[in-house]
């Protein structure tokens, strides 16, 4: 069965406070691999979810072979022949290849499974797509790439016309990627419509025919891969104005080094080395999954370190737990405030004094006056908007919740603060307030590491920027050198390109 023409027509989607997609229109044709490119937050995943019926567009429509579609669930989309392969597997690891491919529609007679027919039909599929397994191989004994291909074959077996792959190579080795690409080429020759979402530029040039570029939820353009190069595509993704809300103030040169990381290596990181100076804001840029949060966790003693060392003020330190890091004056405001930071059912006050609770207690007994005084102090200093500090923190807005997380760590009087995505999902007003806090901390000789997926923020706030890719540092830029183009090139483009 061949593919369908997929057309997005003026598709828009809003989330509270964010315009995720703004009037997107383009087509993907059968027999072609169409890449969707863009930075973090450009709207790629949202677009796939609309195609798939997971989200419903606010306005605009998906058109399939000229027929407007109204999907309300992934099942509606699947019935029309649209399938999305996500990074997470949806296989059943304890069952074999045949059972996985035919799950839910095993060939039956009188209610009993016809095993011989099942295994014959599976063998046909295995031969057709050159899978290196037998129908009776148990899925958990296969590699990640093979599991992924079983998943694709499972969909292909159900008359799929449009197949979208979301970062399919994220956890694959180079050799496995080649096998996957062979399969994609087979599907293309069969005339399927293939949509390919990836951050990896070299892959896009290897396997795709067309590239659609999104930026901040807007459609920038659709261009053929032939006749373009990586730089020309990257230049389509950038180009924003950096406005005044960052209130940047330059720091003097030659400030002393407060934190030095040397050759830090663990399961997610390879040979990370950098220095952080007094009063400096060091930005860490990179794509989602580049290892930025993992680096923060490793420095903070939350993840194990295999190799390498950390020095604070020239002295080597070893953190066996986050407690050791906190004692050395480090703070980490984690990426996900709901799951990693706040105790949603407890009060604003309790959340603020969480880290310093031992310091302000008397032989293990809580000091309610002091708790209240400190919490009130930070409420007014950071302008945390809540009617009462005994209110549950879960009832506050995102921006105010973020300020509670900040207050908690500021109360511990740290010398080094790591902020992981501090402005994610909060409104512009709260953002600007957080930048003000960052600048005040700088003036008070606190050093900061800012991890952010928002390029304007990284460029606007930081004194220096390091860019990460695949668990490594791919480059360092001074504030003067740093442009969106320079950062994205370091984050996306491989230095040593493949052979094709």
């Amino acid at each position: 069965m061949s593919g369908s023409i997929v057309e997005f027509s003026r598709v828009s989607k809003n989330f509270p406070g964010v315009r995720a997609l703004d009037n997107i229109s383009f087509k993907a044709n059968p027999g072609e691999v169409t890449a969707i490119l863009g930075e973090n937050g450009a709207g790629k995943s949202t677009l796939l979810k609309i195609l798939n019926g997971d989200y419903i567009a606010d306005t605009g429509i998906v058109i399939l072979d000229g027929e407007p579609q109204h999907f309300h669930s992934p099942k509606d989309a699947l019935d029309k022949g649209i399938s999305i392969i996500y990074q997470e597997r949806h296989i059943i690891p304890g069952l074999n290849v045949a059972e996985n491919i035919f799950a839910g529609e095993l060939p039956r007679k009188y209610g009993l499974v016809r095993w011989s027919e099942l295994y014959l039909r599976t063998q046909d599929l295995i031969d057709r797509y050159d899978l290196k397994c037998t129908p009776k191989t148990i899925l958990k004994d296969l590699s990640v790439a093979q599991q992924q291909m079983i998943e694709i074959v499972k969909d292909l077996n159900r008359n799929i016309k449009v197949i979208a792959l979301d970062e399919p190579t994220a956890s694959l080795s180079d050799k496995e990627i080649e096998i996957l690409f062979d399969m994609i080429r087979t599907m293309r020759s069969e005339g399927k419509t293939i949509i390919y979402v990836s951050h990896r530029m070299n892959e896009v040039f290897k396997i795709c025919d067309q590239a659609t570029v999104l930026k901040d939820g807007c459609f920038v353009g659709k261009v053929p891969i032939k006749g373009n190069n990586e730089k020309s595509l990257v230049s389509m993704m950038v180009g924003r104005e950096i406005n005044e809300i960052f209130k940047y103030e330059k720091i003097p040169d030659n400030l002393h080094v407060v934190l030095e990381v040397k050759n830090l290596t663990n399961i997610n990181l390879r040979n990370i080395s950098f220095k952080l100076h007094e009063s400096e804001v060091l930005g860490i840029a990179g794509l989602v999954g580049a290892g930025r949060s993992e680096l923060a966790h490793a420095i903070f003693g939350a993840d194990q370190v295999k190799k390498g060392s950390i020095e604070i003020n020239g002295k080597k330190v070893i953190f066996r737990s986050t407690k050791d890091a906190i004692r050395s004056g480090i703070a980490l405001c984690p990426e996900d405030r709901k799951h990693q930071a706040l105790i949603m059912d407890r009060s604003v006050k309790e959340n603020i004094i969480q880290v310093i609770i031992n310091k302000i207690s008397r032989i293990g007994f809580l000091n309610f006056q002091k708790e209240k005084a400190i919490a009130e102090d930070y409420r007014s200093r950071l302008d945390i908007r809540t009617s009462d500090i005994v209110k549950k923190v879960g009832e506050l807005s995102g921006g105010n919740q973020q300020k509670v997380v900040l207050a908690r760590w500021l109360a511990s009087k740290p010398r080094i603060i790591i902020l992981d995505e501090p402005t994610r999902g909060i409104d512009v007003g709260a953002k600007s307030e957080i930048y003000t806090i960052i600048n005040e901390l700088k003036k008070n000789h606190v050093s900061l590491i800012l991890i952010s997926s928002e390029l304007p923020e990284i460029l606007g706030v930081c004194d220096r920027i390091i860019v990460m890719k695949n668990g490594e540092i791919s480059g360092e830029l001074s504030r003067e050198e740093a442009t969106e183009m320079a950062v994205i090139e370091l984050a996306m483009i491989d230095k040593n390109k493949g052979s094709e």
Partner: protein, 325 residues
């Protein structure tokens, strides 16, 4: 005339709110209705003897439920407590029958219980076995041990001095009730006024946040499971005093009564939500309810249905109210 009455009733309501916290109003009302209803139907309910009976049977479950409250607050579960009650009851009886001083025997039994708690803690925190599975396993192991050391039959305690822990009275109040009140007070104070208690809420409410703010979660888990076992042992020792013997069959199903009381008291099995005042109310409601069924001569088989329904109704009310919030 009517105005001051309204005022006083709102005053009364707000003072109840202060004592038990706003969310506990529903439980206080349920308990009040139970007491009022029983008093009307069976005036003997309010007799001093019956009230003492209620408090005595509340003491067994109440002491155990206090330890279990900490476990559930931290996001765990301890199903081994019923077996620990039986094992420590038989152990203390046998130790005393060797001629050991009662106080020594009690202290030694509590030490054995803390070892049992450490075994739970070891599997849950160090080996990382699910708490339900771990304590389901140790529940059977500890019960088996109680049968083995006692040869499967009750161990009669020869030293009559020991009975006073279960049968003695101070100013007319039975010792088990006094111990229960002490336990409630200590557990309440620790939970609401110490760093340890506060951190229980943090661990139960958000484990990753607890880890990232430097709380030693494993140490806390050990302490929690040890305290749960020690409380169960205390309850078992008192029960042995009341029954003048250690019985390996004692307290079967008590672990579920304890969980029922804690959940009735508003605790979330996912952790992070709950209080000692809630547990107190949960224990009282459960005990008064059971006592009422006995007084009304309800067939034992129907009592199961009634107790189960009580739990389902209470948590349903709680869920509906939370959804409205």
């Amino acid at each position: 005339m009517s105005e001051p009455q309204v005022l006083s009733s709102t005053n009364y309501l707000s003072s109840v709110k202060k004592i038990f916290g706003g969310e506990k109003i529903g439980l206080v009302v349920i308990l009040g209705l139970l007491v009022a209803g029983m008093t009307v139907i069976k005036p003997v309910f309010l007799s001093p003897q019956n009230l003492i009976n209620i408090l005595l049977s509340a003491s067994t479950n109440g002491i155990v439920a206090s330890g279990v409250t900490y476990v559930i607050l931290s996001g765990g579960l301890d199903l081994s407590v019923g077996s620990v009650v039986a094992l420590s009851g038989t152990a203390v009886a046998m130790l005393i029958n060797t001629g050991m001083n009662s106080v020594f025997a009690i202290v030694l039994t509590l030490l054995i219980a803390s070892l049992l708690g450490m075994i739970n803690g070891f599997f849950i925190t160090t080996i990382k076995v699910n708490a339900l599975i771990t304590t389901l396993g140790t529940m059977m192991v500890y019960r088996g041990l109680a049968y083995i050391i006692s040869n499967g039959s009750a161990v009669y305690i020869k030293n009559k001095e020991f009975y006073s822990i279960g049968m003695g009275k101070v100013f007319g109040i039975p010792n088990p009730v006094i111990i229960l009140i002490f336990v409630f007070i200590i557990f309440s104070v620790i939970l609401s006024r110490t760093v340890f208690g506060r951190n229980l809420y943090v661990i139960g409410g958000n484990k990753e946040a607890a880890r990232l703010t430097g709380i030693n979660i494993n140490l806390y888990s050990y302490i929690i499971y040890v305290s749960s076992s020690v409380m169960a042992a205390l309850s078992g020792i008192i029960l042995a005093g009341r029954m003048t013997s250690g019985q390996p069959t004692a307290a079967s199903g008590l672990e579920l009564d304890a969980v029922t009381a804690v959940v009735l008291g508003g605790a979330a099995l996912t952790g992070g939500i709950g209080s000692m005042s809630g547990t107190i109310l949960g224990v009282l409601i459960l005990t008064v309810f059971r006592n009422g069924l006995l007084l009304l001569n309800v067939d034992a088989f129907y009592q199961y249905i009634a107790s189960g329904s009580l739990l389902l109704i209470a948590v349903t009310i709680d869920r509906v109210r939370n959804r409205n919030n």
